[in-house]
Symmetry: C2
Subunit: 247 residues, 2 copies
DNA sequence: CCATCGCTTCGGCCTTCGTCGAAGCATCCG
DNA sequence: CGGATGCTTCGACGAAGGCCGAAGCGATGG
């Protein structure tokens, strides 16, 4: 019935990601935007023809999809599942003894705020998640998360489109372990809705040619206190000092 | 602060799993039991010295841990995180077009019921999960799962040790996409507790030298109807015909 | 104490696969 | 229609790494 997930197929998938050039390609696409083959070649630091071969393999494996537009061909991740796989594998990197810490300076922007396929990650997202949890909107744990009744009402008043999740009782939300913060951020449908809302309200703007997000002043203000001022909330406020945006 | 999860470390981790011999080793350890280097060499179908090299790399990366006992050295997965990574990667195998379906005969036992590090998988586990969801004990979705109040009370009466999960409000439970069934089974703390309970009550017994589990008659009976007869449940019974155990 | 067993290290063979140069198509523009 | 751009295919080179034979080391057991 289903293709057997044997060790050899596991190895095939893993070795596909296990090449530095392909890992660079996948990481570049984790930003969520579709990129052309040439741009991916630049990100992977290899020639165009080498990149072409890698892209063919990735498409063949179903990790990415490519659409042809004119003389360009744009690629994006095949879906949230793939992004999740990559994030999970990212988190596995710090399983071993923390030996090398090549903290580059250009990584600071990524640590602060970045897009993670369809949701946000980095300090900004982690702080937001912890604030929402402190306010009793969501429950987060290492096994997943869920939206409380209070949270459902709040997100509804905020205007978030949670889609079919609203129909389910106690809709869970995926919470990823942030690899740069080792704390949780919110993914899944809620994470995607939060990202869309934040982008629509210009709380964050995408930085060109990068996964990094720039947190605007409006975003800082909205999240630091105004996020909850825009709707009436009768929730307990156990941590009124707001969150750090570290701008 | 934290080791940077760059594309190169992603590739390093992935390529570690991307070798067939190492993938075999990891899959063998996914059964949950510690295995000696010799047994792992047998599973990986390579010589002892080659296996030794692979094990050193896996230990070095923090994916597995080894303890010395006499002249044997036993290895096990470093933790649930690793098992989760492997399961996630397993699920990625069916992303591409389903082309090869080498459904071996010996896989049938694994498809029926198997251990997955600390919880159960296969048809038995999937049916059990769906039954629990139909009874309103848990809520499952592609973004995670959560235990309902009804479920908390039920599992408590059943005698499951959910540990610290009981302290949390709406404790979530991890639900994995079963690679052999493409449906959900229950993992996380609840999954581990269910497995321990099922093993303690002799509903399932481990098959030697394999991840496979044999579902006993007692287990079939208990799950088919007696599981809910042993405790008083005032829940709606939308699907009273029970589950298939396909023994 | 010697034989056996289990695991590890060392050295060298060999396959695999990532890489780029050159050439071949497809597309767009002037 | 010709030149430029973007992507792909082909072929050969070369480094990386998995593999095993041989030998070494520690533990067990008679």
């Amino acid at each position: 019935m289903t293709s057997l997930a044997s060790p050899v197929t596991l190895a095939a998938t893993a070795s596909l990601i296990g090449d530095v050039a392909r890992a660079n390609i996948l990481c570049a696409l984790t930003g969520g935007r579709a990129l052309s083959a040439g741009e991916l070649a630049f990100h992977a630091c290899v020639s165009a023809q080498t990149t072409s071969g890698h892209l063919a393999k990735l498409v063949d494996a179903g990790l990415i999809v490519g659409i042809k537009q004119g003389r360009h061909r744009y690629f994006r991740l095949a879906g949230p599942r793939v992004a999740e796989i990559l994030e999970t594998l990212m988190g596995a990197a710090d399983l071993g003894p923390a030996r090398h810490r090549p903290v580059g300076p250009r990584d600071e922007a990524l640590r602060r705020a970045r897009s993670c396929y369809d949701h946000m990650a980095g300090r900004f997202a982690v702080d937001l998640a912890e604030l929402l949890e402190a306010r009793g909107m969501v429950v987060l744990s290492d096994e997943g998360g869920s939206i409380t009744d209070l949270g459902m009402a709040f997100f509804d008043r905020l205007g978030l489109a949670l889609g079919e999740a609203a129909g389910r009782r106690r809709p869970p939300c995926r919470c990823c372990l942030d690899w740069s913060e080792r704390r949780y951020h919110i993914g899944g449908r809620l994470g995607a809705a939060l990202f869309a809302h934040a982008e629509g309200e210009a709380w964050v703007v995408r930085v060109k040619e990068s996964r990094a997000l720039r947190v605007t002043r409006k975003g800082e203000e909205a999240v630091a206190g105004g996020l909850f001022a825009c709707v009436a909330v009768d929730a307990p406020v156990p941590r009124p000092e707001g969150i750090r945006t570290s701008a």
